[in-house]
Symmetry: C2
Subunit: 353 residues, 2 copies
DNA sequence: CCACTAACTTTACGCGCGTAAAATTTTTGT
DNA sequence: ACAAAAATTTTACGCGCGTAAAGTTAGTGG
């Protein structure tokens, strides 16, 4: 029979690189359409066929050409992950978790960062269109984003917004419950010492900041305490430097009305800590300390500030899982009406407050 | 007026998505092969033809299908950028610069992180093969990398190694001059106070650490000072925590033989600063300080530690420019023998030492 | 054992574009 | 203005794979 010929051919081709699926199908002894079926879903072929293919796969490391595959697929397996600023370890960390979840779900994630600039964000979205992704996990820049571009993008590509909500775009929104964050930590600060002032950027990059300010004001009113918001100047994403300079100015102006400061986010708090250090002001809850400082976010770095920063931490796992699962469900056709899911944070007590 | 009708018509056509290059060529009044030529090099067509195409391009936002393009191209315009750990802002920053340079040079960069794990690095390299990139900019994990896999990858794909060298793989190596880093900052520390001890990980993830230790030993010998290396336990990439715990242990053991500590890298130094804080040890060069701490890398965060960290900074711009240009030259066929380029660092004096 | 169904093979077409070759047009140099 | 050179058009094929249709083989239950 030509079974022998096939066997001989197989041995000859053994080390030679497989060019395409045709060749691979030949040496695995399975027809090309079936092999194609296997690669699109290994479970869709008979166990014995699958075994034969996977055996051949061990000998000759063949992988279908992504470009040829995606040209014909209507639904690419690509997923875009977009964050505003990858240099911020918070976003790097959440992106990392999302990436893993995509891989586990059988998608090919590609990471993008807007690098804090709206024009870059537009660039990213444009090149993302070219990828024809099955879906996109997008954390927008926020205030500086080009909302028209965002909305149009969401209309064309299945997009799940996370971290920061900018209107009811996309499939849904998943992020942290900023009101709960601020209410919770404000409550803690009030119960353990003087009520906090609120330290924030005057024109924050991110809409979450507004929610946090409002939650602070509401909480203080509820607790019957006088509220005091200190809004510092500064544009862009260099939060630490803005917090540092704003901190110095606030001290000069005597802006802190109590000995406790709740910062709008951890990076701002880190800058404020630096300012405190530079002014010789001791931070913490010890007897020799003159000020308490708390942050919000549970930034990866907050454990290692001096003093270590008391903060309220994002639930990275739940946020990333919820966001990814929502997107995958939508891709699979389980369409649900737009909704906003906000995950609660967990208080992380350290020595700064 | 019919101005309105025209506008309406334009909008209608505008919305009508162009399916392929055939259609776009038709409405731009140019033949498809010429349009194809234009997209591969806009300068290769006659100025008037180019103008007509670009005019049509404004009305109907058409872009060639990447997948179809890359299927036929021998040389993809894709470039992979691989770093060991994107959560580390140092790598995020260098990756950002490399990304910009790729875009400016007309390539499509894709970012990957090994997330500190060797198996992830292998995964990344495998999926990178599938992209059939024109070239790859790779910063290996280092010690834990699967060297065989790396070598094979470099043999198959034009790869420029940066940051950390692991043998003479790839096209060339571009990184920082670790010997100069350590020699320079050791010299500074010796001239301004007690000679430094060297604080490092016993089993560093990265081969640069060995160069730095050796440079320290050589420098101390040259300066006629007694050297003292403190090697702390710890595996993985959680350098801050390793530095913190190692710092505590070193203090307990009385391991610091002088009042000055040079850390192998900034993240380790950040952890050591935290340990100092936790033990109530004041760091800096002030009269009331009992220890000086310096780092190496110019980590984005080093400005905001308490006290701000004296360190020696990578020249991010020069490293990224040199690395990217070397890769692009190689892609363009300007093959040169393997060489190692090491860029000098710049001393950043702050208050920690 | 037969009938039936699921899985597979064969055959064939199309996706969107690169690219080559030959024919035609436009531009350039003088 | 005319011939040579350059650019463009026409025509045609191929890339690697998805996928549909029809025929064939292998597994299933009774």
């Amino acid at each position: 029979m030509d079974g022998e010929r096939k066997e001989a051919a197989r041995r000859r081709v053994r080390m030679a690189k497989i060019k395409n699926m045709e060749e691979f199908a030949a040496i695995s002894g399975i027809s090309r359409p079936t092999v194609s079926k296997y690669f699109n879903d290994p479970g869709s072929v008979r166990p014995r066929t699958r075994a034969r293919i996977e055996e051949a796969l061990k000998e000759h490391d063949y992988r279908p050409n992504i470009y040829a595959v995606n040209q014909n697929r209507k639904l690419t397996k690509a997923v875009g992950i977009v964050v505003p600023l990858l240099v911020d370890p918070y976003f790097a960390e959440i992106a990392r978790k999302l990436e893993r979840r995509c891989i586990e779900a059988g998608y090919r994630p590609t990471l993008f960062s807007a690098h804090g600039q709206a024009d870059h964000e537009v660039e990213v979205l444009e090149s993302l269109r070219g990828l024809k992704p099955a879906g996109v996990l997008l954390a927008p820049l926020g205030r500086s984003s080009d909302h028209a571009v965002l909305e149009k993008f969401c209309a064309d590509v299945p997009t799940l917004i996370f971290d920061s909500s900018v209107g009811e775009f996309g499939l849904s929104f998943v992020g942290s419950d900023n009101r709960q964050f601020t209410t919770h930590i404000t409550d803690y600060l009030c119960r353990t010492g003087e009520p906090p002032c609120f330290f924030e950027m005057k024109t924050p990059a991110n809409p979450n900041a507004h929610r946090r300010r409002q939650a602070y004001l509401d909480a203080m009113e509820q607790f019957g305490q006088p509220a005091k918001v200190i809004s510092v100047e500064g544009e862009g994403w260099a939060f630490e430097e803005i917090g540092r300079q704003g901190g110095h100015k606030a001290f000069e102006d005597g802006a802190f009305s109590t000995n406790t400061v709740l910062c709008s986010n951890d990076r701002l708090a880190i800058g404020l800590l630096t300012a405190c250090y530079e002014r010789g002001i001791k931070v913490g809850r010890g007897a020799d300390c003159s000020i308490r400082v708390a942050g919000q976010d549970g930034h990866p770095h907050s454990r290692f500030t001096c003093p270590p920063l008391t903060t309220i931490s994002h639930d990275y796992d739940t946020v990333s899982r919820t966001a990814a699962d929502s997107l995958f469900a939508a891709i699979d056709g389980h369409v649900t009406p737009w909704k906003s899911t906000r995950i609660e944070g967990k208080l992380t007590l350290r020595s700064s407050a």
